[in-house]
């Protein structure tokens, strides 16, 4: 069977174990005084409890162990720890604060409503909590999972060190595998728990492993029983063909479990409280324990096998329930206890009340899951993903075909060897909206190694948005932003860039020198503070508090912060605003020096002369669109177009078709001709029209050119 099918089946059986727990807790008031002794007691529900109790947590921990190895293999140790912290530790800690008071509240309320007056009276003088007592409530299973994860990581680290060649683990695989593959595996697996509980009267009193829900001190029976299951799960993931054995033997295992169950419930001498001639009283507990422990394992294998056999296909309903089950189990106990307590004194038969409790609980849990958990961050934390409630309508703008990006394996050396062809930063059809405003409407732009790219544009053109996408300050709505071949959110990518942003107030009580040292500490091989000061000509500012610097001086310190990490790529957002002429010259010469040493620069500016002095290429943005991209000369030709105005009788359509004429318009009095080559056009005009008058030639300024380009773009 495929790994996908296995996953479906195991997910289903884990969900089944969790949901069976809800049923189990709902039976309790009908034969136990927990949370309240119901007026209608039921031997049938006691039997339901006894049927579920042996296997549900063992099965759960077995699958948890298997999935633990799956996650570690997929994400590595760090990824595993992060994932478990989010999905297990956070629900444990936060869930406890919310669920424990509610559960205990329902429990106390229930006991006071108990039909048995002796119990109600006992609550008035509650027993003193023993030392180390802690009400973990039903969240104990998360606590033990955390313990097992910690042990697992420790053992794994020890193995990696001591058994690097894998001899021991290979031997374990070889020896243990045949034992586990046989029908008698439960005899081996039951040993640890039997050693702990075989001679302990509690197994009879409590029926199975004492639930470790009232102390933070790890309890030996739970460690032995559930720990074996967890370890087995881990082992099974190494030997996945074991699952095939279980699948084949599902019925056999269940039959054996059933027979054992019948035996310890009905055979005199085995059944608690009975005696028989064939067994002495002191051994009967031990025999009961043996049967019970074997039942745990046969039932668990039988159920997992049945799931592999019958639930391997993908089913939307099972998938949904599997996702919902974690939330449902976490949240169910206060609801179940509250309902049980509320119904305890109602004179109805248990056959009505019990289904009612399940129906109400199930409805509340499913509805809350569907609306509060599945589509929100709670679902993302619990299940590792979030399902949007409804698919969003597709964007009105037609989506451009995404240019395929070169695949990137992320190693620094590979990246270096591709330096020549791989852009340092790129935007691929990047789109970003803020509400209804389109900040970027599908921009493709890359920064090549060793170049200075100037990004120009009027206010609100999208320059800062483009930079923010590259820096990972914003995420594109559509399309991609890449930095050094990686996601901009990757800190490794950011280690190769330096940044100078607009409108940053540096910490006023730090000195420039301290701030440079701090920023340099983020980089693997930065310049020293002295080198940085020297390079940027800021020695005189070094010992001043940032709060005492002038606007221009702050820009200079920010520039020093940007270069101190020895970046391959610098982002400079309006670097020279507020600088005096000399400081600007110094900054320009530093930039040239950096480029000569192999640094690339992305520069946004309002000053065309700055772009002209420094840039290899210029990108012009307007209204979120890239409207011009080329070398400085190419863009200068756009900006250096001239407007010729004259009074002429020539037909405007004819003039428009002349070589070198970009556009021509005319009203009754005047003709306007736009051209980059005014001299040639004027010569031809004068030759063609002897009566030409009022000739005027005007140089288009930057603002005018931008206005023109923007108008064309609109």
């Amino acid at each position: 069977m495929s790994s996908q099918e296995r996953l479906h089946a195991l997910d289903a059986v884990r969900a089944f174990a969790l949901l069976a727990g809800i049923v189990l807790h709902a039976t309790m008031s009908f034969f136990l005084p927990i949370p309240a002794q119901d007026v209608s007691q039921s031997a049938t529900l006691a039997m339901v409890f006894a049927l579920i109790h042996p296997w549900r947590m063992t099965t759960f921990f077995l699958i948890a162990g298997l999935f633990a190895r799956l996650v570690i293999e997929k994400r590595g140790t760090r990824g595993f720890v992060a994932d478990r912290a989010k999905r297990i530790v956070a629900p444990l800690v936060v869930g406890w604060v919310i669920l424990a008071p509610l559960t205990i509240g329902a429990l106390i309320w229930g006991v006071t409503r108990s039909a048995d007056p002796a119990i109600a009276a006992a609550i008035r003088n509650p027993p003193v909590m023993p030392a180390g007592a802690f009400p973990l409530v039903h969240l104990w299973f998360l606590y033990y999972l955390v313990i097992f994860y910690a042990l697992l990581l420790a053992v794994r680290a020890a193995f990696a060190k001591l058994d690097a060649a894998g001899r021991v683990s290979g031997l374990v695989d070889k020896v243990v595998r045949p034992l586990l593959g046989s029908y008698f595996a439960p005899f081996l697996l039951g040993l640890p728990l039997f050693a702990v509980l075989g001679f302990d009267k509690r197994i009879v009193l409590l029926g199975g492993i004492p639930t470790p829900d009232s102390s933070l001190i790890p309890q030996l029976p739970a460690l032995a029983g559930f720990g074996t299951a967890f370890a087995l799960g881990w082992f099974v993931h190494r030997q996945l063909d074991l699952l095939g054995d279980w699948r084949k033997r599902w019925l056999g295992n269940l039959v054996v479990a059933g027979a054992l169950f019948v035996a310890y419930h009905n055979v005199p001498g085995l059944e608690p409280g009975t005696t028989a001639a064939w067994i002495s009283a002191e051994w009967s507990t031990t025999a009961y324990a043996a049967c019970y422990i074997l039942t745990i394992w046969y039932a668990s294998f039988g159920l997992i096998g049945a799931a592999l056999k019958f639930c391997a296909a993908e089913s939307a309903v099972r998938r949904y329930l599997a996702d919902a089950s974690y939330w449902m189990y976490l949240a169910h106990l206060p609801i179940v206890f509250f309902l049980a307590a509320a119904l305890a004194k109602v004179p109805l038969h248990w056959a009505i009340k019990f289904p009612l409790i399940l129906a109400i609980t199930g409805t509340v849990l499913l509805v809350s899951y569907h609306y509060l958990v599945r589509p929100t961050w709670i679902g993302e934390i619990l299940n590792g993903r979030k399902y949007p409630r409804a698919k969003k309508a597709s964007h009105d703008a037609p989506k451009r075909a995404l240019r395929a990006l070169p695949s990137v394996d992320g190693t620094a050396t590979a990246a270096a060897s591709r330096d020549a062809e791989q852009p340092l930063a790129e935007l691929v059809d990047a789109r970003k909206r803020f509400g209804k405003t389109v900040a970027l409407g599908g921009v493709d732009l890359d920064v090549r190694s060793g170049e200075v790219l100037a990004v120009l544009g009027p206010n609100g053109a999208g320059k800062s948005t483009a930079i923010s996408l590259w820096l990972g300050l914003l995420q594109p709505d559509e399309g991609q932003a890449r930095l050094i071949g990686r996601s901009p959110f990757d800190v490794e990518a950011r280690r190769e860039i330096g940044v100078m942003l607009q409108e940053v107030v540096l910490p006023p009580t730090l000195r420039a020198r301290e701030l440079i040292a701090l920023t340099a500490s983020y980089y693997p091989s930065p310049l020293t503070v002295e080198q940085t000061l020297e390079l940027t000509g800021t020695q005189e500012l070094a010992d001043k508090l940032c709060g005492k610097l002038s606007g221009g001086q702050k820009r200079q310190v920010q520039f020093a912060l940007a270069v101190c990490g020895r970046p391959r790529l610098l982002f400079l957002d309006e670097p020279t605003v507020g600088l005096d002429v000399q400081a600007r010259e110094t900054m320009w010469s530093t930039m040239r020096r950096l480029v000569a040493d192999g640094c690339s620069i992305v520069l946004t500016t309002h000053y065309l002369e700055e772009a002209e002095a420094l840039a290899d290429r210029v990108a012009v943005l307007a209204r979120g669109e890239l409207i011009a991209l080329g070398t400085v000369d190419e863009v200068r030709s756009l900006v250096s177009r001239k407007t010729i105005t004259c009074s002429s009788e020539l037909p405007v359509e004819g003039v428009r078709a002349w070589p070198g004429v970009m556009n021509a318009t005319a009203d009754e009095r005047r003709m306007q001709i736009m051209t980059a080559d005014a001299e040639t056009v004027v010569r031809r005009l004068l030759a063609a029209d002897q009566n030409l008058r009022n000739l005027e030639i005007k140089q288009a300024g930057l603002a005018e050119a931008f206005a023109e380009l923007t108008k064309e773009a609109a």
Binding site: V89, Y522, C599
Partner: protein, 272 residues
């Protein structure tokens, strides 16, 4: 340009960050946070000076003026309770305000944006602020303890005193988390008000300095300061004033820390 740096300036792929440098980045960030805060007297005075001043006024001068008060006579551990209460107050401030206002201001001033664009190791900024808050908490609570020693108000053993102080210093973490949450969600204009809304009622209504009216008593459990005070008193073995199992109150503090930090980090990672 000077020749001394010419040989060093090669801009190339940087390669991985050695562990030593990552550790150094954490320490450097914590150091800068600390000295930047120390140079801001508007922050240092209220949080370093106020708790010890108030402790001296209420617990030493005023309580000393009424040595025959039946309450004082009946509860010899009252002096410890007061010391513990002012210690709790001392450790609350740096966390709530340091994170709450500091973070909101950094956002408004664009510094947070710069930090997000820079390659700070994961958690370095958070660690720096946390270390700063704990250090200030230690200084502030330590001054209360020293004042208590000087005034002869310490009647518990030295070991218990150290445990109490240790719990208090660690106990600044949940308040850091609360501050972080405030800072993550509010602007620099709103954050002082919100921080005060958490700080002042939390301080007065958790019954740390004087007996609460009967009607307010059960509600003390909603304030984190109550849980911190109870954890410290319970751990130090001051049984007369330990009303709740200290493991439980400690668990509440851990949960508050995890919850607030989780929600805040989520917001910071997405919105900044």
């Amino acid at each position: 340009m000077n020749a001394t740096i010419a040989t060093h300036l090669v801009f190339r792929a940087a390669g991985p960050m050695p562990l030593g440098r990552i550790v150094r980045a954490y320490l450097e960030a914590a150091w800068c946070e600390f000295i930047a805060t120390l140079r801001a007297p508007a922050f240092t005075f209220p949080f370093l000076g106020m708790p010890v001043a108030l402790y001296l006024l209420f617990a030493v001068v005023m309580a000393g003026a009424a040595p025959d008060d039946p309450d004082v006579v009946a509860n010899p551990q009252l002096a410890t309770y007061l010391m513990s209460g002012w210690c709790a107050m001392a450790v609350m401030g740096p966390g709530i305000f340091g994170f709450g206002i500091g973070l909101a201001m950094e956002r408004d001033q664009g510094l947070l944006k710069l930090k997000r664009a820079l390659p700070l190791p994961a958690g370095a900024a958070l660690f720096a602020k946390m270390a700063m808050a704990m250090l200030f908490a230690a200084l502030a609570a330590g001054s209360v303890v020293i004042a208590a020693l000087a005034a002869g108000k310490v009647i518990i053993g030295f070991g218990s005193l150290l445990i109490l102080l240790g719990v208090m210093i660690l106990g600044s973490l949940p308040f850091c988390a609360i501050g972080l949450l405030i800072g993550a969600y509010s602007s620099s204009g709103a954050s002082p008000a919100i921080a005060n809304l958490v700080y002042l009622p939390g301080m007065w209504l958790s019954g740390m300095f004087f007996p609460l009216p009967e009607s307010l008593r059960p509600w003390a459990v909603i304030w984190p300061a109550f849980h911190l005070n109870q954890t410290a008193l319970g751990a130090a073995g001051v049984e007369e004033f330990s009303f709740v199992n200290p493991t439980l109150t400690a668990a509440v503090l851990v949960a508050i820390t995890v919850l607030c930090t989780g929600v805040a980090l989520r917001r910071l990672a997405r919105v900044g």
